[in-house]
Amino acid sequence: MRFQTFFGMLGHWAAIDSDAPALIYEKDGEKRTESYAQLLAAVRDRAETLKVCAGRCEAILADGSRDCIVEVFAALKAGLSVALLDAAAPDETLREQLKACDTGLVWGDEDLCEELGFTALAQTDAKPGDVLFFTSGTTHRAKAVVLTEESLCSSAYNGGALLPLQPSDLLMCMLPLSHVFGFVCGLLWGLSCGACVALCRGVRHYLDDLATFRPTALSAVPLLLGFLVQHELLNPELKLVLVGAGDCPRPLLQRVKDRNIRVSFGYGLTETSSGLALSLGTDPMSMTVCPDDRIRIAEDGEILVDAPTCVMKGYYKDPEATKEAFTEDGWLRTGDLGRLDEEGKLTITGRKKDMLVFEDGTKLFLPEAEAELAALLPGLELALYQKDGKVWLAVAGDADEKDVKRKIVPWQDRQDRSHKIAGITLREDPLPRTATGKVRRWEL
């Protein structure tokens, strides 16, 4: 089903079967089930309260709880815009993001709000119905992608059209709702199909949530999937896994398939409200383009996207970056390289943008990160690269490893766990570069 609003989505399924379960979650140690009709009523009630704030932006410190979901849906219903922030991100990152989205309304854990000391009130440029997601990895310069309820609903429709769930299905939501992949594929995919969504009880329950809720479908980033497989946590009822938001090793996909679980690999960006293409056949890397999206390959191999219903409105208050993100004829530049086969199936072949993508779905933008590090290590030539899934720093020149390690501490302290530099290599020779001066990272 195609919806334009989250409220409309809930209303549709509530009208068909008012008792149909929408969410399963735990509160105060008790497992609770909430029907589509009950969830709809909760959203309506909360929206009434929020109406006085219509036209403003509410920052939601997303903790994946049922109340958090109600808050998002209600705020949009009440005519607010919403910025979804990761409650588990470092405080400095959260402060930066709160500042960047011009909000004076913050929803979240009271202690955390107080700790952040957030009291400022400002006028937002976001429009009612806008949903702001911060691109993962931009820790210093907070950059928000402006999506809308409609674009997120369209993305969920795309997923459901290619990989339909049934009302009898139970989708496990384990990913952060502040990431568009988690929000669309962990929550909206299920709700748009009238299925029930089980809400993860927090990271400490990663070890037992699947055994507790016994889902039939799961969306995961490669790192989480690898963890669940390694510790044999996939439950026998599980029949479909959607993995995305990062490169996934083929042996891992095979190990899931060996358990008679269908695996689909998804490709998408925050800028496209998540899914652009999904693998449906036996080859997880050969992906069918979603119904609302058109893809073409530029001369240099970059994947370009035309998807009016799903593509972002732009980067929040950054018209220059928004302009750069599109070609002159309006196609979104993905920064990824790929090819289309004769059947129109998409395969990703590499990355054009200067960024690292991690198995937990987060990204590190290299020019920005390297400029910050260069300021801490003046006179040294440096570059970041990825080795065994971790960040490494290459330094050329007269440098001492202990000294470098000490000087980069302020940068390390600001990074998400997966972005911290895990190792340093010292080089006597200059860094290898292309004719145009770009670092040949693959040679580091």
């Binding site: 955390l112 927090g202 990271v203 198995e359 899934g389 971790k390 766990r417 911290k420």
Partner: protein
Amino acid sequence: MSREELRERTIKIIRDCVPELADTEITEASVVNTDMGMDSMNFILVICKLEAEFGVKIPNKLWKKLSSLGDVLDALQKYGA
């Protein structure tokens, strides 16, 4: 429990959870990510195992502040280990 005993038991659990660290020297100053090379999922596993081992619960919002082994030991002691 003394700090020393807590440290030794914690290091043993870390090594059990992340076998790659068998030969790595781990001190209180060791930073979980950079010196131990632990990814975020292994970090979650280690903290869960430590909580179970010592019968404590470290509030979720403190997890992101645990940088070094010393921080982890401080948190375990603060919450009853």
